[in-house]
Symmetry: C2
Subunit: 329 residues, 2 copies
């Protein structure tokens, strides 16, 4: 099968490696931001972010988008949510009518300016259907690439075709038709994982495991309400796409670390600026704002944890003060 991966960052490179392991002919296309990464890989060195060699792949630079998409039988969309509209707009003239498996997490603004899912916003922008399948579940890129046991959830009408193309070895794939629930879970988990990280900061001296675990349960409860308000199903949140992905995101990674530093008392905007300056993305910072917008636009008004997170990260309220007021019941 001919598989084209759009986006050569962490996740795109990892998925390209997986597709090559399955025996597919894989093209990895990098955006204009990825050219420096691809230059290194083209010299035969390991991918600078993933830390692993990428062999047996055709590499395409940003200007080679038409060639990259030509005759593709499966497209994997691994561009960040910020870049998704720009990339897909340029890709549209060359995009074949094949499944597009998206590993992108996060809401986008639709034509009315409201927060919505990528599988709805992109077709709206392009004025044509795109056969989006959303990939959810706990899947750190480097571990997928290394063959660590991983359970992903593919959601959408073409989920089975994507699973058949990519599952194998230690990559297990569950399928569901609940693309709304799966995308909303993926968009929310960075926000809530940042919130759980706050407790790692607040409790770094004497421990706040009870509070963190109470907020983990509360996160799942609030994610359910938001998923259902957006047309998804609670069962999706209770599975690997919700409970599993929140677990891995809150255990390791930049969003948790961002929360921890804010929990220790530093203003969120300063931490975000510092992390940005050192090249670390903190999706959770923006994700809290977009989740809060999504909640208000969908009239979900009983979200005490998300409300507190928004106060801490976007309204300059001290974490210790805001969390002391948290109404968990």
């Amino acid at each position: 099968m001919r598989v084209t991966v759009l986006g050569a960052g962490y996740m795109g490179s990892a998925m390209a490696k997986v597709a090559a392991q399955r025996g597919h002919a894989v093209t990895l296309w990098g955006t204009w931001l990825d050219n420096a990464l691809l230059d290194v890989v083209l010299e035969g060195k390991p991918h600078p972010r993933l830390g692993l060699a990428l062999t047996d792949l055709r590499l395409c630079r940003a200007e080679e988008l038409p060639e990259a998409l030509c005759n593709a039988e499966l497209v994997i969309h691994a561009v960040s949510s910020e870049g998704a509209v720009a990339v897909m707009t340029r890709a549209a003239p060359y995009l074949p009518d094949v499944p597009v498996l998206s590993v992108t997490k996060g809401f986008l603004a639709n034509a009315d300016g409201q927060m919505d899912r990528i599988d709805r916003v992109i077709p709206e922008v392009l004025g044509r259907a795109v056969r989006f399948v959303h990939a959810a579940g706990p899947a750190k890129a480097v571990e997928i690439a290394r063959g660590v046991l991983t359970l992903m959830v593919f959601a959408g009408a073409d989920a089975i075709a994507c699973r058949d193309a990519l599952a194998g070895g230690n990559l297990r794939v569950a399928v569901t038709d609940d693309i709304a629930g799966a995308e909303i879970a993926s968009a929310l988990k960075n926000a809530y994982a940042t919130g759980l990280g706050l407790w790692d900061g607040l409790g770094h001296v004497s421990g706040a495991h009870n509070a963190r675990a109470a907020c983990f349960a509360q996160s799942i409860h609030e994610m359910c309400q938001l998923a259902c308000a957006g047309g998804g199903r609670a069962e999706t949140i209770y599975g690997a796409a919700g409970v599993g992905d929140l677990h891995v995101t809150a255990a390791a990674g930049r969003n948790r670390a961002f929360g921890e530093r804010v929990g220790k008392g530093k203003p969120a905007r300063d931490v975000a600026a510092e992390m940005l300056a050192s090249g670390e993305l903190t999706e959770g910072y923006a994700a809290i704002a977009t989740a809060w917008r999504f909640a208000r636009e969908h009239h979900v008004d009983r979200l005490p944890l998300l409300e507190v997170l928004h106060q801490v990260v976007w309204e300059d309220v001290a974490a210790s003060e805001a969390l002391a007021r948290l109404d968990l019941l």
Copy 2:
């Protein structure tokens, strides 16, 4: 209110401290195994396990059980599951008809030798009703005692009375009538947390976060099946009693540590013996056996993770080998 706490270990001492903070007249009774702990506390020193001073409590030694229970208006049962039958048999003649809030986790054998809940086995043994309320949820004793934000779930007919007596400050209490679901969640979480710890051992060099998170979601799925088979409700597992308590137990504590050491390749019985010798309880070791018995007795036969845990911990199968075969779908 006059509150009597049975059992002066970690959790009994912490709950006694909470009850005293609420302004109650508290008696803390120690079992025959707790006399050494109480001797230290009676000298005015901090409780040896909890590490905190216990003031404003009446302390009773094992032989003072009748005095300890006399005129109690609320009893808190904080004896381990192994000691519960022995203690409650001795307590029965003096036990007033008041709510008995039990923080004990784990199944007991009923008259037919089958695994069952404490709130059913103890009344059967005693031949009289006991107004059990089960306390579930993520609640490390030392953090409750220190006033860290904690969400507990009280389950049973008298749950509201127990909540009204004990909730306050940073101790939040949710109530439910699903005592079956709450007790089964509490009994299972040590077993599954041990299983998640295995991945900390197996992945200690290069990481196995994806696998751990997939198994976290799988644990919740299997706990739901077991809770429903035992007459409980799935919603209880999806809340603080299940998702929340599994999170805290798998993040910190002896059961996770036990699993980690087994995951590094040491036979489970050797790790259990070493931890026992150094005074560390590993409830997870026995909990995997009792959970497996409970599953078979309730004819729940699709539990791939629990089956693998039983193989690793009780059937001498290497963790790496058993987990490589794990069928997550």
